[in-house]
């Protein structure tokens, strides 16, 4: 039996390799979220239905391809993998289960920057979160960090860069921000839009429109652009005059939802203004780098999630609704369910509660739901 790491699964998903998954979690958990990929096939049978053997599902399993057994934390998948191995199937199990998958970040290089330096995107495949590291002249900035702070700290250490600035485009409601922890660990400045952080109980630097942050000697400007709509404080960044970090305002195949702070009706106008007016004034050659992806189809060939603004104005349905009333209906009616524990996550991101790591994991369980399509 092979122990398969999340990093391997991530690379196979990105390379669109064939993958057969026997997911042995209960049906509710499987329906809520699973490992997705273009060439990923699933069979969901709860482990407790396999305790007497696998005879009943044997004919649904491939014989000439490794079966990846997946459960919540790994214990049940090891048990089922043992049964499969005894029956002669080639088999592996996902180390750490869906918990590890949810926490895995795949670094993907987006570009060498004009002014020297590099831009990386960290793709959290299990949860659809995207975060970024801008590196230049021995310094680094991190944008929309997840709570897996070690990944960024290790990455920066390997590259020999010092993290000097940490930014969040908005107060996140779907995942726990690692921004503040990274700032504490490195002495970096933590930037937050003040309108989102009114209730925050910690010190932060106010990130507002027309703020310029310099990374390294080579002067990579990060310019903040106020773009409310998903939250009242939502702020976009333009990095190196070329990359537009849209946070949760604009995604590749969808747009942000305005209701996660409970104010859909109030913010729908802001959202429209940001998408249909403020972004429109920007250069169409900017590459959009969002804070999330919703479906695996949004990934490019190399695993990155990025697209030219001009292409989004052409193809993203949410940018092509001329009728204001229709737009209002799209973003206020028929919204998807709200993310798991989103209110607690907001509280945590304002520093008002500090649950232990296990509780933080539980709070983040399930799919990302920040968009409307």
């Amino acid at each position: 039996m092979r122990t398969v790491q999340s990093s391997e699964v991530a690379k196979r998903v990105i390379a669109k390799e064939s993958l057969f998954i026997l997911d042995v979690r209960n049906e509710g958990a499987f329906e809520d979220w699973k490992i997705e990929g273009e060439q990923v096939r699933h069979l969901n049978v709860p482990y407790f239905d396999l305790l007497d053997g696998i005879e009943e599902i044997e004919d649904q399993l491939p014989k000439d391809e490794e079966i990846l057994v997946v459960c919540a934390k790994e214990g049940s998948s090891i048990m089922v993998a043992e049964i499969l191995e005894e029956a002669g199937f080639p088999v592996g199990y996902l180390s750490g289960g869906m918990k590890a998958w949810s926490e895995y970040l795949e670094p993907v290089k987006i570009a060498d920057l004009k002014s020297g330096g590099e831009l990386y995107q960290f793709v959290r495949l299990g949860k659809g979160c995207l975060s970024y590291m801008v590196m230049s002249g021995g310094e680094a900035a991190i944008i929309d960090a997840t709570r897996m702070t070690d990944v960024y700290l290790d990455f920066a250490a390997q590259r020999g860069v010092k993290i000097t600035n940490v930014l969040d485009t908005h107060l996140h409601a779907d995942h726990i921000s690692g921004g503040r922890q990274i700032a504490i660990a490195t002495g970096a400045t933590y930037w937050l839009p003040p309108k989102d952080a009114e209730e925050a109980v910690f010190e932060y630097a106010a990130l507002e429109g027309d703020t310029f942050i310099q990374i390294g000697d080579t002067k990579i400007d990060i310019q903040a652009l106020y773009s409310p709509g998903h939250t009242i404080g939502s702020t976009s960044f333009i990095v190196d005059d070329s990359y537009l970090m849209t946070g949760d305002i604009l995604f590749i195949d969808s747009i942000g939802r305005p209701d996660l702070a409970g104010l859909a009706e109030d913010w729908v106008g802001d959202l429209r203004e940001s998408l249909y007016s403020r972004y429109k004034k920007l250069s169409e050659d900017l590459i959009v780098l969002p804070a999330h992806f919703m479906i695996i189809d949004e990934l490019n060939e190399d695993g990155s999630v990025a697209e030219k603004l001009s292409v989004l104005y052409e193809k993203n349905h949410g940018l092509n609704i001329q009728d204001e009333k229709e737009f209002r209906e799209l973003v206020t009616d028929n919204l998807p369910p709200q993310p798991n524990a989103y209110q607690e996550i907001r509280q945590m991101n304002m520093g008002k509660i500090e649950p232990d790591e296990e509780t933080q994991r539980e709070m983040e369980i399930g799919p990302n739901r920040c968009a409307v399509r």
């Binding site: 049906e27 509710g28 482990y47 407790f48 049940s76 296990e358």
Partner: protein, 192 residues
């Protein structure tokens, strides 16, 4: 105190062990008995609910005390499938009105754990297994309404009561599984 027939200590065990052990223990229990499963693994709740449903048992409910979940699972048995034979019945919808009668007494014959998680306010708890000995304390002048989860155990209880000389006995159908009016919970925990 929520009553159970057996207790499984699965504290400190990670998935799949709480379910593996529950399943093994349930095999040795009698139909209708209630097992308390004590667990510290947060994943156990959803898995136990899914497993009981898949295995045809009943997930009664849970309470959380400090870091320990106490789950109550009832082994479904033959009385859950038996035919209803007792002819005098009242539908859930009419029960509250019928209980207005001054001599009306509502008897809930489910296990004490089931009763604890959700029962009709004012119901008297007499699990079916205890009915023979406890009916001696019941006055034959009262008008009895008997309820269980699906109307089968209460059907059996009605027949027992009538065979022992009770004259005014009515079975409540379909029973608590479809009861939508007010219930009381005496566990301090949640009810499924």
């Amino acid at each position: 105190m929520i009553q159970s027939d057996k207790v499984l200590d699965a504290k400190g065990l990670a998935c799949p062990m709480p379910i593996v052990k529950t399943r093994k223990m349930m095999k040795d229990m009698e139909d209708g008995q209630v097992l308390e499963v004590q667990s510290t693994d947060s994943g156990t709740t959803a898995d136990l609910q899914a497993w009981t449903e898949s295995a045809g048992h009943q997930y009664v409910g849970n309470v959380k005390e400090a870091d320990v979940w106490r789950h109550f699972v009832r082994r479904a048995g033959q009385e859950d499938q038996s035919q209803k034979e007792y002819p005098v019945t009242v539908h859930n919808d009419q029960l509250l009105e019928q209980l207005q009668h001054p001599n009306a007494v509502l008897v809930d014959v489910r296990e004490e754990a089931e009763y604890a998680f959700a029962h009709i306010p004012g119901a008297l708890s007499i699990p079916l297994g205890q009915l023979d000995e406890r009916m001696a304390h019941l006055s034959k002048d009262n008008k009895y309404f008997v309820v269980c989860r699906t109307g089968n155990r209460s059907d059996m209880a009605c027949r027992k009561l009538v065979a022992n000389g009770f004259e005014c006995v009515t079975n409540v159908i379909p029973g608590m599984s479809e009861w939508n009016s007010e219930t009381e919970n005496t566990t301090g925990g949640m009810n499924k």
